[in-house]
């Protein structure tokens, strides 16, 4: 490697690094002064957001940044004394610079297609968390005022995980702890179940036995029935269960006035248990609920109901869960089409800890001529949105699946962002574009197809290549090796060239957009010519001339 090549590499790379750092600092200062959304004022996440925004901004400005550095190199650096040797020729600076240019274009491709979308996603997550934190303390205060100390503490902990220095939050935290301590001391020792102080019982049999011994025969019945269903041949369980059934049968006599009622209870419980064992949770829930409503004293039924509810919450939900999370920030007014042919308008979507909650959904089956239907709640469950009006679990008939479930074309994270098209577009990496474009278009989103998107982005990469070579050529032809640039001119250069690079890049990409626009006329002339191919052919021709112009520069000075 010749000395000049080494010099080229060191000057250009050092200049690129230094100017990128300067650009980043300038953008950091700019965003630090201009990020003024109310939820960010005093937020512990603000600095992280400013940092990411500045990095994203700097990467977004890579094309004019590269252009500026190359103009500077060919205009100033390569005229300095380290390059004034006898062996100097234009090719000795042109070739390494060209290689660096190609590497920088690769970096820009990676940045545009992958890195910037990742940063966009990170920024959005930070913004969401900042909005959540902004609401956390007032919500915790509200819950505290209502005497819901444990819930208040849980929300406050979310805040304190990020910021331990907020005085309001700390004061509230101390008050809640105090209130919780007072609450726990109000319980007298005799009211505390003895079993809780001992080591927790591990198996259903042990729990059942403990309940039997303490006289809770219905609780014992529940656990022993569960134990027997797991170990059907176990004699010990069978015996204890038989004894428990005897006890409960005699107790049932005092609960049920007639024999018919007793039969009803026993038959329904047996059916409900059979549903439960077969995994028919909705049917089991309906029966257990009915029995529980009639005989709330039966502890075994209550326990079965709780168990069924637990199973159902894996595939269904209840509105109280929605109300609990309604204080969180949301993505509002999202409209999209689903696979069932419905147009859905959701007033609020809340993503929280891997779940997605949908509030106030308005649906209309397009082309069906039906009525607009409103649903207060929806939750993302098992690859679709379950809709709900009532505060209970109800099995949906096969024929009504379309009505009770929304099956979007895309996962819920993308659905939530559909209300802000530009935000969603910025977050899509190339891979996501390829995977999701068709589905997003079917969802109703106005976006470029994949070839059109790549053709549009190609304008950015060709802009760097073509403009850098042409402006470097002009800079080289107008250089002076006799003197360092006069101060006044240097100032003009440093002020004007970044702006020139910026405007030239925008004009070039606007020209590329014009090519995309003209493609419709090309279709008329050449039939089914791909927009990407059309743009690449034209850009390749322009690049060829730019390369030719650059390489035709002479080594000497007039």
């Amino acid at each position: 490697v010749s000395t000049i090549t080494k010099n080229v590499l060191s000057f250009l790379i050092l200049s690129l690094i230094l100017s990128f750092v300067l650009l980043f600092i300038a953008l950091f200062v700019y965003y630090n002064r201009t990020l003024d959304e109310a939820y960010l004022i005093g937020s512990p996440l603000r600095n992280g957001l400013v940092m990411r925004d500045a990095l994203k901004g700097a990467l977004g400005l890579l094309p004019p940044f590269i252009l500026f550095n190359f103009i500077t190199a060919f205009s100033i650096y390569y005229t300095l004394s380290p390059f004034q040797t006898e062996s100097f020729a234009f090719s000795t600076v042109a070739v390494p610079s060209f290689v660096i240019l190609l590497l920088l274009i690769l970096l820009t491709i990676f940045s545009e297609f992958f890195f910037i979308p990742v940063l966009e996603k990170g920024c959005e997550q930070l913004r969401f968390r900042a909005r959540m934190l902004d609401r956390a303390v007032p919500r915790a205060e509200e819950l505290y005022a209502q005497g819901r100390f444990q819930e208040s503490l849980e929300i406050l902990d979310l805040y304190r995980d990020e910021d331990m220095s907020n005085e309001n939050a700390n004061l509230l935290y101390r008050n809640i702890r105090k209130a919780l301590e007072e609450e726990s001391t109000q319980y007298s020792p005799e009211e505390t179940p003895a079993a809780e102080e001992e080591a927790p019982l591990e198996t259903s049999y042990e729990k059942g036995k403990a309940a039997y011994e303490s006289g809770d025969y219905f609780v014992a019945l529940f656990y022993l029935e569960r134990a027997l269903s797991l170990h059907s041949g176990n004699r010990e369980i069978q015996e204890l269960l038989a004894r428990t059934r005897e006890k409960t049968a005699s107790l049932l006599g005092s609960l049920t006035k007639t024999q018919q009622e007793t039969r009803w209870l026993v038959q329904n419980k047996t059916r409900a248990l059979s549903y439960l064992d077969n995994g028919q949770y909705y049917e089991a829930y309906a029966l257990f609920s009915e029995i529980h409503d009639r005989y709330p004293q039966l502890a075994d039924i209550r326990l079965y109901l709780e168990r069924v509810r637990g199973e159902l919450q894996r595939v269904d939900f209840l509105p109280p869960e929605m109300a609990e999370n309604a204080w969180l920030p949301s993505y509002d007014h999202v409209v999209f089409f689903d696979r069932g042919g419905y147009l859905n308008a959701v007033e609020r979507i809340i993503p929280w800890r891997g779940d997605y909650y949908f509030y106030d959904i308005t649906r209309y089956r397009t082309g069906g001529g039906g009525a607009v239907e409103k649903w207060p709640y929806g939750k993302w469950l098992d690859g679709r949105i379950r809709l709900k009006k009532e505060n209970s679990f109800k099995k949906v008939d096969e024929g009504e699946m379309d009505r009770y479930f929304i099956v979007p074309y895309v996962p819920p994270g993308y659905v939530a962002l559909m209300g802000d098209r530009s935000l969603l577009m910025k977050q899509l990496s190339l891979y996501e574009r390829i995977e999701l474009t068709e589905d997003l278009i079917l969802s109703g989103l106005d976006m470029d197809t994949v070839p059109r998107y790549i053709a549009r982005e190609a304008g950015v990469f060709f802009s760097i290549y073509v403009l850098t070579l042409i402006f470097s050529g002009i800079a080289w032809s107008k250089r002076s090796i006799y003197e360092f640039p006069p101060f006044f001119k240097l100032i003009i250069f440093l002020v004007t060239v970044p702006i020139l690079a910026f405007i030239a890049h925008h004009i070039y990409t606007a020209g590329n957009d014009m090519l995309l626009y003209l493609h419709r006329y090309v279709l008329r002339a050449f039939g089914n010519m791909s927009v990407l191919l059309f743009v690449l052919v034209i850009q390749a021709a322009v690049s060829f001339f730019a390369t030719f112009y650059f390489l035709s520069q002479r080594s000497g000075v007039e």
């Binding site: 397009t366 082309g367 549009r456 957009d513």
Partner: protein, 329 residues
């Protein structure tokens, strides 16, 4: 003499080279500015718009070509800075003569009269959700059927009409530059959406920096237009000619000055500096002149020439300074 002829020819060649991209650029900018979605209209409409803006585009092209020639000129061949004004003036005379001849033949070029036709298809995007400030709507078209769904963000309501007709359920209010949607027709609720909210100009010269510069340029244009539109045709012609001359006289020594002292790239990029600073410098000067020219006693019947006079005075001062200080290598 040979030098002057070659420089004149160079300016004309640069003008031929740049006139098409500059006119298209100006047309593009104007369309975006008017809220007309470029990607929904035919190329004939774009060309119509460009034709309507030919005169201002020609002026920009003339100024740009002149500055480029001056900033790239070989200084060793320039005998006098004053003589360097002659080629641009010659080109200006040629352009003026062509205009004058065309006007005599009564074939006037339409000035600032865009021929863009704005119809439903231009403004309303079909088969895609369109998000505006207050509403999200969808106009689905399949064969002869048009379905309209409007979601109002204000009250989270969804209005549906699956057999809409244009000019009935959907109306274009061209004067108010808005679309009125009335799903269900008749006495049902209507939704009014300004054109500008319906257009997304993705990536087409929409950066804030570029747009704020355009706004400043428009302010200067409005101030100048207010002056010449109050005059009769002859006086307006004289004023415009003088203004053009004065602008050239100011910018030529400036670009020559930047081209001076060996290191040439500042000269080239200096053009952009001059063009960039142009509206910011001219605007307050025009403001001052406006105040001065309220006194009719100042220049009698020629008060309207005051702006051009001021710029020419500045140009002469600049010429003297640059010719005394500059041209040293």
């Amino acid at each position: 003499m040979k030098f002057l002829a070659r420089t004149t020819l160079k300016i004309i060649l640069y003008m031929i080279l740049f006139i098409v991209p500059i006119t298209l650029g100006v047309a593009l900018f104007s369309l975006v500015d008017k809220g007309t979605p470029l990607f929904n209209i035919g190329v004939r409409n774009v060309l119509g718009e460009a034709r309507g803006l030919f005169v201002p585009s020609l002026f920009i092209c003339y100024l740009f070509s002149t500055l480029l020639v001056v900033s790239l000129i070989d200084k060793m061949r320039v005998k006098s800075l004053f003589a360097l004004h002659i080629p641009p003036i010659l080109v200006g005379v040629i352009i003026g003569a062509v205009f004058a001849l065309m006007q005599r033949e009564e074939v006037p070029l339409p000035v600032s009269r865009g021929g863009t036709r704005v119809g439903y298809a231009t403004i309303l995007k079909r088969n895609a959700l369109v998000d505006t400030e207050k509403y999200t709507f969808y106009l689905g078209t399949e064969g002869d059927t048009n379905a309209l769904y409007v979601y109002s963000k204000e009250d989270a309501s969804l209005a549906v009409d699956e057999s809409v007709r244009f000019d009935r359920e959907i109306r274009l209010d061209r004067e108010g530059r808005r679309v009125v949607l009335q799903p269900g027709g008749g006495s049902r609720r209507s939704y009014s959406i300004p054109f500008r909210e319906l257009v997304s100009y993705e990536g087409v010269l929409t950066h804030g920096l570029i747009r704020s510069y355009a706004e400043k340029l428009r302010q200067v244009y409005a101030k100048l237009r207010a002056r010449w539109s109050a005059l009769d045709r002859r006086r307006a012609g004289i004023l415009l000619g003088m203004l053009l001359l004065s602008i050239l006289m100011v910018t030529i020594p400036l670009s020559y000055w930047l081209n001076d002292h060996g290191w040439g790239f500042s000269g080239v990029v200096g053009i952009f500096l001059i063009l960039g600073l142009f509206p910011y410098v001219v605007s307050p000067i025009l403001e001052g002149i406006n105040r001065l020219s309220r006194d009719p006693r100042l220049l009698g019947g020629y008060t309207y020439l005051l702006p051009a006079g001021v710029f020419i005075f500045l140009a002469i001062v600049l010429d003297v300074i640059v010719s005394r200080k500059g041209s040293v290598r």
